[in-house]
Symmetry: C2
Subunit: 112 residues, 2 copies
């Protein structure tokens, strides 16, 4: 199975987990409590994120703290960034497009 950063961020729940862990390290249970799905489900996502290098997990007694490893998002960032000039060329105003996107996100209540 593919285990890379693109796979890691493909799932919306995993993106939410990343957003959560970007604020502060949390135990596996604490993460699980933030979502509707079961703990094993979250646990599996965390395992995938770990295998993709996006988080590290450190044990302290019976607790395991998940910590984001932000530098491992860089390859995905660089890949998309290649096309930045392409879209900047094609858009009259990048800033206006961003505003438009933000409005759209508010309406749809997306966070992905």
């Amino acid at each position: 199975m593919r285990r890379d950063v693109f796979q890691a961020i493909a799932d919306p729940l995993r993106r939410d987990i990343i957003s959560l862990l970007a604020k502060q390290p949390m135990t596996i249970n604490a993460v699980a409590k933030k979502f509707e799905v079961s703990r094993p489900a979250v646990s599996k996502h965390l395992k995938i994120l770990k295998e993709c290098g996006i988080i590290t997990i450190n044990q302290d007694g019976r607790e395991r703290f998940c910590q984001i490893e932000p530098k491992n998002l860089i390859p995905a960032f660089l890949w998309i960034e290649q096309y930045k000039t392409l879209w900047e060329e094609k858009l009259d105003s990048f800033e206006n497009y961003l505003l438009e996107l933000q409005t759209k996100n508010k309406n749809n209540d997306q966070n992905g």
Copy 2:
């Protein structure tokens, strides 16, 4: 099924197709010939890319030209960019890290 930009770029073959179409528009057959997999397989990937808004397809006679729609990569770019300050904080030198990454990519012959 999920049809968003994150899903679109999750597959390495789709990323290769995007890279190809970023250079110039191409017919479906022309794209298919660039890869080892069958034409229907490529066709399916193009369909997914279209459904995700990453490409548009314009018919001219019996040929269909696929064209990249680079602005639809922006949401993914913005999502990852959120964490830019986070990794810049944690890395002694972003530039050195990039060099290191480039070397790694050369060795592994990755293009993803």
